[in-house]
Symmetry: C2
Amino acid sequence: METNQKQAIINFFSKHTRLSSQGMQDLESRLSFSVLKRKDHLLKMGEVCRFNSFMVKGCVRTFKICRAGKEHNISFASENTWFTSFKSFIFQNPSEYYMEALEQSLLCQIKKSDWDYLTDTYPEISQAFRRILEKWYLNYENRVFQNISMTARERYLQFLSDYPNLVGRIPDAHIASYLGITPEFLSKIRSKLSQYPSARIA
Amino acid sequence: METNQKQAIINFFSKHTRLSSQGMQDLESRLSFSVLKRKDHLLKMGEVCRFNSFMVKGCVRTFKICRAGKEHNISFASENTWFTSFKSFIFQNPSEYYMEALEQSLLCQIKKSDWDYLTDTYPEISQAFRRILEKWYLNYENRVFQNISMTARERYLQFLSDYPNLVGRIPDAHIASYLGITPEFLSKIRSKLSQYPSARIA
DNA sequence: CGATTTAATTAACTTATGTCAAGTGTCGGT
DNA sequence: ACCGACACTTGACATAAGTTAATTAAATCG
């Protein structure tokens, strides 16, 4: 059963690199599973993030509390994505971010020490990690561009097209936070969009 | 003379990794210099970005033109920073971005093929590149958080503190674009800040 | 199944930011 | 010294987005 789930990760790596059978075995033996209930915290601010996580099933939000004391979602992790509190994981220092499950979730995790071992030992795994990091980087680059160049409505339409699997699954208030607007304003945007559906042609 | 300038890059790498003398020599022999005049384009949209560049002296902006046809600055490169049009450089495909010199600039560049050779051959250099990429990533992560959680005035104050060397050096309109606001509104922010200097305590 | 919390909507009003247009100042080139 | 770009500012007005608070709908838990 668990071995079946681990397959998702092996598949993930296989897509990004030619993984030697030894590397595959070594990787698999270092994966561990973790189940989160809804509202469980995977990480709290100030804690050191010990794991890089692969989401098998479920959804987790990563957020930070600003000076004014409000939560701001910076990203969501859903099926088949790697996620971690990057700076804390890399430098093993206290995280600025919280990570909280929005649904019951099944994660497959690698400890920092195993991660370091694997990337030091297997160039293919190291390369796959660089690919993941490149993807994360390009994702944030796009987010920055969207934030400085688009209205809230345009960013919402972009979100719908980028993350169709999250819409209707997580509370709108979390999407609003991710977009940098209030839930009330998102509600108005949605209301106008349903009134003039043609406006959806982005 | 040029050898002197190359020293800046060697220094940069030395700070981030233990560089073997052979790697150092190999790296140095693959660096080339490039001078840009003000308003020169280092890269235009649609072109493939052939280089990773290190800014020795000067300033370059990277921008993209949105659907509405307006330019939006996504980043600035000034002294002692690496910059490139990342996606285009990595995948050698047409860039979505333009890069334009805001001042006469001196760059030290590495071709993609040399970059690949160096990172494949010298683990230290590969590691240094990962450090650069991590830095870029964390920079954008912070930008996203700032964009979704701060007002324009707060983002401007943050910019002043993050990039004091750019203030008064490049036109305010470019800073406004980077912050995602209009030049007129930035002017009003500046005006209020000089009226109530204590408001600068961020 | 009912009781209670959480989510989403709506409206009135406020604040943040954009648009347009005019005006001033500055700087390099002639 | 003059001229024309460009940079910056300012004010009146318009639009985007936030705030507060009330209301309804829907999910959760006992």
